[in-house]
């Protein structure tokens, strides 16, 4: 009787191991590569449709165009992985730009020091606002949608107030040179910064205790709390990281565009959320990856650029981008169902 059982178990186990391996391969394929395939299809389609699409200059352009959104979306991924959302990122970018801009044009500061201070203040300002978002959400248990919606207005108002609604420009030349530098003819400096942040973020999410906690809390906050962890701390940290990412994105934006303005970043939060969601991160938290987020931002950038090159007007482009966002999420529900069926 007992012997029989063991034999059966071994059999089913070895069978499982084989098909389990197949399954996990298929899962990875569906998870990461699935969205990558969409990107590749788009690239091929546009290359065929518009001769100028797949040229060094244009690819470089796309890299530039997606860098800012990628960095903001990296921060946003941390928040969304916890089941939250940050609507304030666009306004915070404007506020950070004013703070950094004021320092950059301060004549009494040497260039080097001014740039260093601008970076520190921009990142610091973003982190403080993120921290506030987090602490308000957690202290009063208010949904982040509301808190960051409020913060969206507060940050925008502050940016307008501090700048007296004036644009700031004439930054030090060195500063803007970084923004326009391109390596190997195709990799803009700001894209390289964005890539580094994607990799850094991925390492944090995949390899560290902090990242483990983000996924665990996003899946089941109560279990994690009852396992003896300070859940609030991790949640507040995620918002702070998101704010910090916005601070970095602000500097990249200013390097590239050579301006700081209180009206920058309108709608940036929606692009960032779209990138995260297209990248397969679940709005309810606990599932997702930064590689996905980067691919999501790339799809948005490629679409925008490619549609323009094949002669699509502004309005049509907006419609198509909207359709793609919804389609990506619809496809994701099928993927989830499929992998659930695979695993049961």
């Amino acid at each position: 009787m007992n012997n029989n059982n063991t034999v059966k178990e071994i059999d089913s186990n070895s069978g499982m191991n084989h098909s389990a391996r197949m399954r996990s391969l298929l899962n990875i394929f569906l998870k990461e590569v699935g969205i990558g395939i969409v990107l590749i299809v788009l690239v091929i389609a546009f290359s065929l449709g518009a001769p100028r699409f797949f040229t060094l200059i244009n690819v470089g352009n796309i890299f530039t165009q997606i860098s800012i959104n990628t960095v903001i979306a990296v921060g946003m991924t941390f928040v969304i992985l916890l089941g939250g959302i940050d609507l304030s990122v666009g306004s915070v970018l404007a506020l950070c730009s004013i703070v950094a801009g004021k320092i950059l044009i301060n004549p009494s500061l040497p260039f080097g020091l001014a740039i260093l201070l601008a970076v520190l203040l921009s990142v610091g300002c973003g982190m403080i606002i993120g921290f506030l978002n987090g602490i308000i959400c957690e202290t009063w248990k208010i949904h982040s949608f509301i808190v960051t919606l409020g913060m969206l207005n507060i940050a925008r108002g502050m940016a307008l107030q501090i700048s007296h609604s004036k644009t700031i420009f004439n930054f030090p030349k060195v500063f803007n040179q970084i923004g326009t530098t391109t390596y190997l003819g195709v990799f803009p400096a700001i894209f390289i910064i964005a890539m580094m942040l994607v990799i850094l973020g991925s390492v944090i999410l995949r390899k560290t205790v902090f990242g483990r906690m983000i996924f665990a809390i996003g899946n089941n906050e109560e279990s994690v709390r009852l396992s003896g962890h300070n859940v609030k701390f991790y949640k507040i940290m995620a918002y702070t990281i998101c704010g910090g990412a916005v601070g970095i994105a602000t500097i990249m934006y200013m390097m590239r565009m050579s301006i700081a303005s209180p009206i920058l970043g309108v709608g940036f939060e929606l692009n960032a959320i779209a990138a995260v969601v297209i990248g397969g991160t679940s709005m309810s938290g606990g599932k997702g990856s930064l590689v996905g987020t980067f691919l999501g931002a790339s799809i948005m950038g490629v679409l925008n650029n490619g549609l323009l090159l094949i002669g699509m007007g502004d309005f049509a482009r907006q419609i198509i981008t909207g359709v793609i966002i919804i389609l990506a999420v619809v496809l994701d529900t099928y993927r989830t169902k499929f992998s659930a069926a695979l695993n049961s």
Binding site: E9, N13, M16, N17, A20, S24, K207, T208, V209, F210, R212, M213, F215, A216, N219, N220, E222, S223, V224, R225, L226, S227, G228, H229, N230, G286, K287, N343, S344
Partner: protein
């Protein structure tokens, strides 16, 4: 088959959930127009039986006969259409809508596309009179009502259609004595009108006040159906506990509790004004008995810092602990295995590995970076030691059986290694084999000098495994029984003590 006078017959009903038989070959008939009382310990199968009757569960085998015809409801609506209505313990009312709208929510009278409010209020007034609430306006919003009134509204809702069987699940749990009297009056009136009533209760004295017949369930099996007049409380208790207790439960005579480990003094928390004090010794397995809602789980949660405390002191090995959150508790050597492993225990979508090491990530990381191979080694060790059946350590815990899920939960606390292990219903819903393994594990921990608290609704289990049993009743600790005085009647009487006084 159907004999005259029976409105509903359950024939050989069996219902299995993964890993557990919730109902085992139950045969029961309820006579038309009687008040039939269902009794049993928590988890005996009362609710499952009722849910089978009202179309929530479909039996794995067996059949039902309703009013002489075969009956197999596919969903709750089918049962409602036959006139089978349930009033659950948790109210199902819409607080901001009026009484009238709540009563007729499923079929509001219409005039064209609009709701015919005149008729709605008139019809509602008729039904309100039926349940003795004629002095309330049907336009009152439900949120303004008291608990007893809400209950009557639930019953009114059930009576709004043609109702042939009315099922009440612990209707008196939250009522005051005069409200209970009032409810009983209504039930007698309904009975006189020919409505059959199935009544689930934990309060044994109620049986004699309103019951015609009594059915006792135990572990999903029917123990017996008797005329209420033929029974007394001791005989009912005997039927509820009944089963023999011997080799099913391991007891290690060689493990003798030593010094006091945990000393809880006058613990008071929200919703429970009675101060609770108890002690736990090293190497002791302390059982906690009582009905669901008697404050067992709530006390353990407050002790662990999962819910806020109002006052009270906790000493561990003579040192006072300040526990404001589970984090404080865990860092001071306490751990709690929650009753609900799916929502409060496991991170279901994540792997066995993640769920095992979650209680102490510092041990498997250096400077914040996780050491994956060390984590794998540890998880592998527990999968092996605890005999956990899983295709691999990366398997999501969602896909494991109940017993294996529970073992993963235990693993995570073994890995953390605490001084005090609090297990809340560690064996609920898992099969006999896994239960036995868990008992052995409790003994292993006790032999290592840990203190163990086991909350359980399974009295034979507590009596089989524990050194001492603490009994909760209606928010109070009503007794403490040592092993040499273990006796199901004593313990059950203590569990019901505070409820009987009312």
């Amino acid at each position: 088959m159907a004999s005259i006078g029976n409105i509903i017959e359950f024939n050989n009903i069996t219902l299995s959930f993964p890993g557990v038989k919730a109902l085992d070959n139950v045969n029961l008939s309820v006579r038309e127009g009687e008040i039939h009382i269902l009794l049993g310990e928590n988890g005996a199968g009362k609710s499952t039986l009722v849910k089978t009757l009202c179309g929530v569960h479909s039996p794995s085998s067996g059949d039902m006969v309703f009013a002489g015809k075969p009956y197999s409801p596919q969903n709750p609506l089918a049962a409602i259409n036959q006139g089978i209505r349930v009033v659950y313990q948790e109210f199902n009312l819409l607080p901001y809508l009026s009484i009238a709208e709540n009563i007729f929510f499923e079929r509001l009278p219409k005039k064209g596309v609009l709701v015919d409010f005149n008729r709605l209020y008139k019809d509602a007034a008729v039904i309100l009179k039926k349940v003795g609430l004629e002095n309330l306006s049907p336009k009152t919003a439900v949120e303004n009502l008291g608990v007893a009134q809400m209950q009557l509204i639930e019953i009114a809702k059930a009576l709004s259609g043609e109702s042939r069987i009315l099922i009440l699940d612990e209707p008196t749990a939250t009522l005051m004595p005069d409200e209970i009297e009032n409810l009983f009056g209504l039930l007698r009136k309904l009975k006189a009108d020919g409505v059959t009533i199935i009544y689930i209760s934990h309060r044994l004295n109620e049986i004699f006040q309103i019951g015609d017949r009594v059915t006792v369930l135990r572990n999903g099996c029917l123990v017996g159906t008797h005329e209420a007049s033929e029974l007394d409380i001791p005989s009912i208790v005997k039927m509820m506990v009944g089963r023999s207790m011997d080799s099913e439960y391991p007891f290690d005579e060689s493990v003798i509790p030593s010094d006091t480990l945990l000393d809880v003094k006058n613990l008071v928390f929200k919703g429970s004004p009675y101060p609770k004090s108890f002690q736990l010794r090293k190497g002791e397995i302390l059982g906690v008995a009582g009905l669901v809602g008697s404050g067992r789980t709530e006390t353990m949660r407050a002790l662990f810092g999962a819910d806020p405390k109002e006052s009270g002191e906790i000493f561990l090995k003579g040192k006072q602990l300040i526990i404001k959150s589970p984090k404080d508790a865990v860092e001071n050597g306490l751990c709690l295995l929650t009753e609900d492993r799916k929502t409060q225990g496991l991170i279901l979508d994540m792997s066995c590995l993640v769920n095992t090491t979650i209680t102490d990530l510092e041990k498997v990381s250096r400077k914040g970076f996780l050491n994956r191979s060390q984590e794998e080694e540890i998880t592998e060790k527990y999968i092996d030691e605890m005999n956990i059946k899983t295709p691999g350590l990366n398997q999501a815990t969602l896909n494991l059986s109940g017993g294996n899920q529970q073992k993963i939960l235990i693993s995570k606390w073994l890995y953390r290694d605490s001084d005090v292990f609090i297990f809340d219903e560690p064996t609920r819903g898992i099969d006999v084999g896994a239960k036995y393994e868990i008992y052995l594990l409790l003994w292993k921990l006790a032999a290592m000098g840990r203190g163990i608290i086991m909350v359980s609704s399974d009295l034979p289990e507590l009596m089989g495994v524990c050194h001492r049993i603490l009994v909760f009743s209606d928010g109070k600790i009503t007794g403490e029984v040592n092993r040499d005085q273990f006796d199901p009647e004593t313990i059950l009487n203590l569990s019901y003590k505070e409820y009987l006084n009312e």
